[in-house]
Symmetry: C2
Subunit: 200 residues, 2 copies
């Protein structure tokens, strides 16, 4: 296998944590997103969406999308389990992972891109939407606080892909000036999760 | 089980197609989104994100998020398979389903909500972002055209959740004034998929 990624990006970090949790090492090529390497013909042949990470399998298939890659790695190395075992466990983990993505990760990313204009050489931006997105992200936090007051990990008793998504989104948000650490259960949980070996 | 949904919404339709493909019938309560029924205390106890659909399992667990519900239904009724069997099949289907969601369904929804202001009683909107999102959706179409020139279904030989997501997004987009049917492979594929019994 071979991984094309930008290790420092939130999605690069998500796959890296999954790999470390499972003890998987994969030869890696760093893609220079800011320099636009992902927009070239060579990279778009691997992923037409022009995003990282992308995993090339031993059969030469290119798998893009962080969660698709992570689920594929789980099929190769099932333990420790990150996506649930029973149908209900899998559904609850997918639900919370999607809540973290849709209610938080996407608004944080849209706020970042539209407020800073980091990729304005390649996409149209709206500062107005950046402000709205930052507020949407802030307004999503009480749901996570309420859940983490009741459960050890985001989707229940088990550390899962949902924790990886939420924790790295919050870390990224703070690094780019969106501090979403306002409530105690989220803060305590984030410290615990971030202290895992796989996060370092 | 019990389903809370708005059958006419794109996500309501996605779950309905999955159920029909698998021959599953579930007692259903329609939620009046335009009237704000989803914003009330009673509904938010089922899903704090205040979105439909939500599935209540026989054990009384509430599963939200369309794909989480669909995957749960697949665990109960595995055939016909909509999420793939091998690890690689599952990853490829998840990749294409996410491309349809992230590159098309979300931009179409953001264009719709921001341009029409249909939910402006409950969310801030930006017409500027609505215009940008409509353009992002249009720009995503060549990727789907290129894929459907080469494969019978979006993720390969097998009809899957990725087809359901893409087909219903395109149908919805056209219904709200975003006509994305510009290229022949997408049009032919959409007619074929939309003619399935489960879509009617």
């Amino acid at each position: 296998m071979h991984l094309y990624t930008m290790s420092a990006s939130p999605n690069g970090r998500r796959v890296a944590v999954v790999m470390k949790e499972k003890g998987i090492e994969i030869p890696t090529t760093e893609i220079d997103l800011r320099g636009g390497e992902n927009l070239g013909v060579e990279f778009k042949a691997k992923n037409p969406v022009a995003r990282v990470p992308v995993l090339e399998t031993d059969a030469g298939t290119f798998i893009a999308e962080t969660v698709a890659i992570s689920r594929y790695l789980e099929s190769l190395v099932p333990q420790p389990n990150l996506f649930g075992q029973s149908g209900e466990e899998q559904a609850i983990i997918e639900m919370w992972n999607r809540r973290a993505e849709i209610s938080l990760m996407i608004p944080v990313a849209q706020a970042f891109r539209n407020l800073t204009g980091v990729f304005k050489d390649r996409e149209k931006i709206s500062k107005e939407w950046g402000e709205i997105s930052a507020e949407v992200a802030r307004n999503a936090m009480p749901m996570f606080e309420t859940q983490l007051e009741q459960t050890e990990y985001l989707a229940g008793d088990q550390f899962s892909i949902a924790d990886i998504t939420l924790a790295l989104t919050l870390t990224f948000a703070k690094a780019v000036g969106q501090d979403l650490f306002q409530a105690p259960a989220v803060i305590t949980w984030h410290e615990k999760v971030s202290a895992r070996e796989s996060f370092n």
